[in-house]
């Protein structure tokens, strides 16, 4: 049995149409069908946060959604955060400058989760940043540099400075 459905959605601003197996998760659809492998899969049951994407602007676990459920919605993945090919998002620049990643596995989920945070709360405290990423596991950094990077990016964004 491989029941399929036709879906059409927007991914990083681009219209996408595909036939998908109904049991395919959104995460696997992004990675396998669209080859957007920036979205990482760690636990595949909603705990590690690596697969976090933005669904109509709100953070969501792409491993806990079926691709067919994304029909008609707008998805943003880590590949869609940078404004263009030459320029990274201020959060990405701050992550680089503050050494907020080592292996990089958790980074896509961190960036999407923190993009939502800084949009909703442009001036978060360190405690609020820590709470925001409490659903994202990082085994390298000890989180301190991620918090530092987020606060740096928040400041730059508030000042209107790109990066």
């Amino acid at each position: 049995m491989s029941e399929t459905r036709s879906i059409s959605l927007t991914v990083n601003g681009r219209a996408v149409a595909a036939d998908v197996e109904v049991r395919l998760t959104l995460a696997d659809f992004l990675r396998q069908n669209l080859r957007l492998t920036g979205t990482h899969l760690g636990c595949e049951h909603g705990v590690c946060g690596a697969c976090t994407i933005l669904l109509d602007g709100r953070s969501a676990r792409s491993c806990l959604m079926l691709a067919v459920q994304a029909n008609g919605h707008a998805i943003t993945t880590v590949e869609g955060l940078a404004p263009n090919a030459e320029q990274m998002h201020p959060l990405q620049i701050a992550f680089q400058e503050q050494h907020a990643l080592q292996c990089g596995f958790c980074t896509p989920g961190m960036l999407t989760t923190l993009t939502e945070l800084l949009r909703d709360n442009p001036d978060p405290s360190a405690a609020q940043v820590r709470e925001a990423i409490s659903g994202n596991l990082c085994r390298c950094t000890g989180y301190n540099s991620i918090v530092d990077a987020t606060l740096q990016a928040a400041k730059k964004l508030r000042e209107g400075v790109p990066g």
């Binding site: 491989s2 049951h45 976090t52 969501a60 806990l64 959604m65 079926l66 989760t113 409490s134």
Partner: protein, 285 residues
């Protein structure tokens, strides 16, 4: 970690969803709401439903209706909808306090209030809240509607009064009176993890004394319930640390503690006592 095959249905109306549920119930049809519990269980293949009935595209089920005497919450109202108070009164503030403790933002953006109740995890904050507020459940199947009080709805760990062909299509929450005070406290290993224990305490403050006290815990017992012995320690008393400690002690003594590999009965009772006391202290804030 991939879900087993199933048949997928995306009905456009509640009636269509109930008809699908009635038709496919013998083949293990399940309602898919927020999916934050069902999809992980399917990924582990602890659940292998034959049919998923996705209710996310049914327009009438998303709303929260504040017009009536009681607050109506539809089957697809998500946790995130309660993060900011849905109304200025004490009920809106209580719901916002509790919502902040549920999972993480990406979970709250998808998971639903009614889905939490239908799933009935012992640690569920909304099951505790529905019990404390006296929620009235709307349970529908094709051609029939029944209503149950929260006290009649929860049977045990992840077990409710819902039959296989029934759906929790919504619920109503009676509003708290203007003189109601509440306190909520939860402890977990990390922010957003399942509660090791949580407490919700509500009382009315009349002429400086507590009346109509309600105390419910989460994560303490197989399902939430009002703890009458603890509530009796508050009614008629002036709010004080002594009264709060007496109620917390009564709560810890009243529970049939859940145990697991990390928390034995004694520790669970200690956690219950502490969260109950701290919730009551927060009622003064």
């Amino acid at each position: 970690m991939k879900v087993a095959p199933f048949h997928y249905h995306a009905p456009a109306s509640k009636q269509e969803a109930l008809d699908l549920l009635a038709h496919y119930e013998p083949e293990d049809a399940r309602i898919l709401a927020g999916g934050q519990s069902l999809i992980p269980m399917m990924a582990f293949r602890l659940a292998r439903p034959g049919h998923l009935i996705d209710i996310n595209r049914i327009p009438g089920l998303h709303g929260i209706d504040l017009r009536g005497d009681a607050i109506y919450i539809g089957a697809i109202a998500r946790h995130a909808a309660f993060e900011k108070p849905i109304e200025p009164g004490p009920t809106g503030r209580l719901l916002a306090d509790v919502a902040a403790a549920i999972g993480h933002a990406p979970i709250r953006s998808r998971g639903t209030f009614c889905g939490s109740l239908a799933n009935a995890d012992p640690a569920s904050e909304w099951c505790m809240t529905a019990t404390a507020l006296g929620a009235r459940m709307r349970i529908e199947k094709s051609g029939a509607l029944r209503e149950l009080e929260a006290s009649e709805f929860f049977f045990g760990i992840m077990t409710t009064a819902l039959e296989a062909d029934e759906m929790l299509t919504g619920l109503t929450l009676p509003r708290l009176p203007a003189d109601a005070r509440h306190g909520f406290y939860e402890t977990s290993r990390r922010a957003g993890d399942f509660a090791l224990g949580a407490a919700l305490a509500i009382y009315r403050l009349q002429d400086g004394r507590m009346q109509d006290a309600r105390i419910v815990l989460a994560g303490a017992e197989p399902h939430p319930r009002r703890l009458a012995d603890a509530e009796a320690c508050l009614n008629g008393e002036v709010p004080s640390d002594a009264a709060f400690r007496a109620a917390a002690e009564a709560a810890a003594n009243a529970i049939d503690p859940l145990t697991d590999g990390q928390v034995d009965a004694g520790l669970r009772c200690d956690i219950a006592r502490a969260v109950c006391h701290r919730a009551l202290l927060r009622s003064l804030a």
